[in-house]
Structures are given as C-alpha cells and as structure tokens.
C-alpha cells in the first residue's frame, strides 16, 4: 500500500480506487472482473465482503451482496478470490470492505492469518468505530494488515485524532452523510474537508461516496489523494446481467470499460492541475 502511494506520488497523480462486491454475480465472473480492473487503470481495489444486513449501504450495493450470497459466496471464498487474483498480480493493493459479523464468526485470529496469507493488504470495516478498536483494528495492525478508517462530515476536529489514531494505509473520507450510492458532495467542500484531515495526519486521504462519472472523479481526484468508485461500477455490472440476474458475455467488459473511463478522469485531474 505504501509503495503504491509512493509510486503515485512520483507520477504526480491521485489514486483511482475501485469497489466491487466479491462473488457478484457469481464467483467466476467476479474473479474475471477483479483481474480486469488493474488493466483498466485501477490503482487500488476494494473488494466487498457480502453481508445480509449492510446498514450503511444503498440499494445497489445491498442488491450486489444479495446476488453474491445467492450465488454461494462466503467469507472463505472471498479470501480464495484474493488468493487467485494474487496468482497474476502481486502489486495492486487489495482492501477488503464489509461488516464485522462474518469476520467475528470466522474467528478474528484465523481470519487475519488467512487474509494475510491470501494477499490482503487492508481492511475497512464499516461498523467498527475507534471505540471498538480492540475487536479487530489492533489485532489487524499487529498481524501486519492496514486498518483503514472512514472519516465523515460528522467527524469534527475534536474527534478526528481518535479516528486517525490507529488508522493506516490511507484515510477514507466519506464525502457525505449518507449511504453508498447517494448524490455526490461538491468538490470544493471535499477539498476543504481533505485539507482539514491533512492537518491531523500524514496519511493519504481518498474520497468516496457519490462519484459516478469521469468528470466528478476528476474533480474529486484533483482535491485529494484518491477517488473511490463503487456504486457506479456495481450498477454497470447489474445493467449487463440477464433477466435472471446471471452474468452475460458483456458483464466483465461493462465494468472494465466504465473503470477505464473513470481512470481517465482521475488521470486527467493531474493534467488539469498542472
């Protein structure tokens, strides 16, 4: 992760971070999509761990998780997916994103061991605030995995130090108060928020929630160390499925093509800023 951000810094540009749901719409297609993302220009890949009750996600990502679960996806298979991806790509950082319960049931120590050996670089667990750091964050840091925390518009200067204390890899700034898939925040507000966070940390700050188009991606990337896109990719995937919700020959390219366009947007941010 650090190497990737150092490299981006050298190239003088922000990161393009993609989110897709593991096992959506089925395990094989999902692996093909994840493999296609670095070629499409993804610098970091977030992989969703499907959960029945994703309380901070909007309808698109909720539905993606349910498609994956219906196709038999499990936490164990999610780790296998990362392992398979690592066979052909050792460089692209992989961050698992999800909710705590499946990890808790898998067993925290066993999970950290398996995740590390599968090639996972970091974790984002939506329902583990700093108040619950002893559950997973501290053990993850000990195991050598990054624990990436979300900061939000409600995280004020008083609270930021607590949120940042055990954060590593990067800070994920959620640009709106809301669920995934909601409207985007305007880029000037995001710029101010990123600057505020940077007064408290030397870590890169990536911004997500509500980025759907190359233009927004460009504007957000110009004001931060990275732009995260999830719902738009998941929507492109869904639009490519057949009426029964199964993958079609277009599914992988539907996601990859949109990712490539968004990556161009992010890369354009740098030229625009120069």
């Amino acid at each position: 992760m650090e190497a990737r951000f150092a490299q981006l810094k050298q190239e003088g540009r922000s990161a393009f971070v993609t989110f897709v749901m593991a096992g959506d719409p089925d395990p094989e297609t999902s692996l093909a999509i994840v493999k296609a993302l670095p070629q499409a220009g993804a610098d970091i890949i977030e992989i969703g761990m499907p959960f029945t009750d994703p309380m901070a996600d909007g309808p698109s990502i909720q539905a993606a998780g349910l498609r994956a679960l219906k196709a038999g996806m499990t936490l164990k298979k999610t780790l296998q997916l990362v392992r398979s991806f690592r066979d052909s790509d050792a460089a692209t950082p992989i961050v698992l994103m999800g909710y705590y319960n499946p990890i808790y049931i898998y067993g925290v120590d066993r999970f950290l061991e398996d995740a590390k050996s599968a090639g996972v670089d970091g974790l984002i667990i939506v329902d583990l605030p700093p108040e619950e750091d002893t559950e997973l964050c501290i053990p993850a840091l000990k195991a050598g995995l990054n624990f990436i925390r979300l900061a939000t518009p409600t995280t004020d200067d008083k609270r930021l130090p607590a949120v940042l204390a055990n954060t590593s890899g990067f800070v994920y700034y959620v640009s709106i108060t809301g669920i995934t898939g909601a409207a985007a925040a305007d880029s000037s507000a995001v710029g101010a928020a990123v600057a505020r966070i940077k007064r408290h940390t030397a870590l890169p700050v990536c911004v997500g929630f509500g980025i759907r188009t190359p233009e927004t991606a460009r504007a957000i990337a110009a004001n931060s160390d990275g732009a995260v896109v999830g719902t738009a990719l998941v929507d492109a995937l869904r639009a490519s499925l057949d009426p029964e919700g199964r993958a079609t020959p277009k599914t992988v390219s539907a996601v990859a093509d949109l990712a490539a366009a968004l990556a161009q947007g992010v890369r354009g941010a740098q030229q625009a800023a120069e």
Binding site: G58, P59, Y100, P102, I103, I105, D127, T155, V163, T177
Partner: protein, 407 residues
C-alpha cells in the same frame, strides 16, 4: 427490600456499554458523534429533577400510569396452581408498554433540539406510540415497517397515518422488523444532523439498551409496590414475552437482585425450534448486528437468518444484549412458545378473563399455562400483559375462520 449486594445484576452496562461480552457500539462512523451526544444528553437528563418531574407528569396524565396489577382469578382457578397477576401495560395510552420508552426518548430528543423523529416498528405498537408522542409535541415522524408487517398489522398502519406519521413500507430482506431497522439506520446515517432515532426495544448501540431499560423499568418498580400492597411481599416469579426484550427487561430489572424471584423470558418458537422461529437465545449464537453484540440467528458464515413468528412484534433475529448476558450468567430462564401455543393462549385468555391480549404477550401466557399448574397455591406469579390484541383481531380472526371452514 433490595439491599445493595456486591455482585449486583443491576449495575450494567460498563461505561463503554458492555454487559459482559454483549452490547457495545458497532455503528458507522457517521453515527458515532451523534451517539456520543445522545449518551451525554441522556446522562444529564437522568440526574435532572426537572426531567423526572416532567416525565412523571406525562406518565400519569397522558399515559395513564400506574397501570393496574390485576389478580387473574379465573385463569388462576383454571390452571390450578400459582396465583396469577397481570401487569396491565395494555391499558396504557396507545395500548402497549412501548409508550413508556417513547415518552422518555421524545423528552430526550426535545432536550437535544431534534425536530424529526424516525422509528422502526414490527407489530406497529412502537410506531403508534412514536407517532402519538410526535403528534403531541409537534414533531415530524417517519416510521419504517416491513412490507409484510404493513399487511398483517393494518389497524396500526392506519392509526399511525391518522396521527400524521409517514409509514414507509420496507421491501428488502424478509420485509419484517430486521429490515425496518436496517432502513431506519440508513435514514439516520443520511439525516443525522436533525434526526433522532427512537429505537423501540432494549437493543442497538449503547446507550439505547440501557436508556430503554431505564424508561421501561417503571413497569417493575410499580409491580414491586403494588405486590407489596396486594400481598405484603414480593412476587415469586415474573414472566414476559421477548422480541427485542424491552417489556421483559422493564418488568425484570427492578427484581434482578432479589434472589427469591424466579424470572422467565419467553421467545417466539414460531413453527418450532427446529424449523422457522425467532428464538435467538434458544437457537442462536453471539454475533454483531444493529450496533450491538448479542445472540443472533445466523448461518455458519455469519449471515443473518430471517426470523419467523406469528407475532410481528417478536419477529426479530436478535435480542437485547442485557438479556444475552442474563442468560449467560444464568439469572433469567429463557423459554419459548410456538405460534400454535400462543394462539391457544390468545383464545383462552379472551374467554376466561375478557382480556384480548396481543399475540406477543400471548406467548408469555402460553408458558404460564405450563408453569403455573406446577407451582403451589401460595406462589405469586406476575405476567407482563405488554399489549392489547386489537391490532391482531383481523389476523387471528382470519386464521380461526380459515380453520373453521377447513373442518
């Protein structure tokens, strides 16, 4: 008399909201600052005599407290054992115990200057109570309710709308209480700046399980006094149904440190514990959902399973964290009653006592029918009659008419 014993069952949660390993605060960062504000606001209210005076006034003149402690003579004679008393929470304004908690939370919301209230509801009783107090205090009210529950609890949907609340049918998942709670949390994450989430039971992130328990404890406190007046001593056993567990916790909590008092909580066994049910303790494991660690129904991958109960108010795959702890330490006995047992109890009580219970407390009555005959005649048993059956009359009527026709 309760004397302060060193290992009190009543001292939880700790300052981070834990009852043993249960409880805690497992929510998205967006909500944390607000939850910390709420914790502070509630801590201040708790020690403010003006807050208590205001609560007491509304409890008496608006809710209609104290609710009676009624000796159910005919049921007692019929069962031929313990002397059975009902704590009549169904006589409260809005028809259930839910109003005790809602009044408390709305008072806190007003202190915090919040103008918009959201709630989730299963049976609709919590939704009706919330809509009622929002009407009374001129607050905007949005109630999330699973689409299945909107169907089976029509009378309450109509009541909420009459009271000026917006009822949002939730189409995700099994379209019942769990999904309504997810949707309410999504609304809260989105509208955190002006919105107060009024949770309907002793669950959710700290301080909710503690705060709701405190507001519901009026049930047990009154029961102590009333039983002293009626019989000159404490009851020998307490029994209440459990969805999330707020009516039960309200009755139990003031008695937890009285070692002579046996305590029973009744979960919904639905079609039976080996089939579809809603008994989190009998059929679940500790896990993390909706902001707290507690017993949950789930598969081996940690995915939450749908609950089933004939009673919409008990149809939830979890239970309040303090109950999980009371189970693990062995202070409370958790039993379960099936849909059929609850239906039978519903009919028996209607005929014998002229009280049509809600399907929720009918689960408790079902276990009274089992336990009471085994107790001596001087055994004093208190059942929490948590709600009246008006909301269930159409549903139970359909079931009974359907059976009559099939015969």
């Amino acid at each position: 008399m309760t004397t302060a014993i060193p290992n009190s069952y009543r001292s939880g949660p700790d300052d981070r909201g834990h009852f043993g390993i249960f409880g805690g605060r497992f929510v998205a960062e967006t909500l944390m600052p607000l939850i910390l504000d709420l914790e502070k606001a509630y801590a201040e209210a708790k020690v403010d005599p003006a807050f208590h005076a205001e609560m007491t006034g509304y409890l008496k003149h608006y809710v209609g407290r104290p609710s009676p402690l009624y000796y159910a003579e005919r049921l007692t004679e019929h069962l031929g054992g313990a002397k059975i008393y009902f704590k009549r929470e169904e006589l409260n304004h809005t028809g259930s115990h839910k109003v005790n908690n809602v009044l408390g939370q709305i008072m806190v919301a007003r202190r915090m200057g919040k103008k918009r209230i959201i709630a989730e509801t299963g049976a609709g009783q919590h939704g009706v109570a919330t809509a009622t107090l929002c009407a009374r205090f001129g607050l905007d009210c949005v109630v999330y309710m699973g689409a299945v529950d909107v169907e089976r609890q029509q009378p309450n949907v109509i009541r909420m709308e009459m009271l000026g609340a917006k009822v949002v049918p939730v189409q995700s998942g099994a379209k019942t209480l769990k999904d309504a709670m997810n949707e309410a949390l999504r609304d809260w994450v989105t509208n955190v700046h002006d919105t107060f989430y009024c949770i309907g039971t002793v669950a959710g992130p700290h301080p909710y399980p503690m705060m709701v328990r405190d507001f519901q404890s009026v049930i047990g406190s009154e029961t102590r006094t009333q039983m002293q007046e009626a019989e000159g001593r404490l009851p020998d056993s307490l029994i209440a149904c459990i969805g999330g567990g707020s009516n039960a916790m309200g009755l139990f909590h003031p008695f937890l440190d009285d070692p002579t008092v046996e305590i029973y909580g009744v979960e919904a066994a639905g079609h039976g514990l080996t089939q579809l049910h809603a008994a989190s303790i009998a059929g679940g494991r500790p896990g993390v959902l909706h902001g707290n660690r507690t017993y949950l129904l789930m598969d081996e991958d940690g995915q939450i399973e749908e609950a089933h109960s004939i009673s919409a108010g008990l149809d939830y795959p979890g239970i309040g964290p303090e109950h999980s702890w009371l189970h693990d330490v062995g202070r409370v006995n958790y039993l379960s009653a099936t849909d059929e047992e609850a239906l039978a109890a519903f009919q028996l009580l209607s005929r014998l006592e002229g009280i049509i219970p809600a399907l929720e407390p009918a689960h408790a009555i079902a276990k009274v029918m089992e336990l009471a005959p085994k107790k001596p005649r001087d055994h004093l048993m208190v059942v929490n009659m948590s709600g009246r059956g008006d909301k269930d009359v159409p549903q139970v009527g359909d079931i009974l008419r359907g059976r009559a026709r099939a015969q």
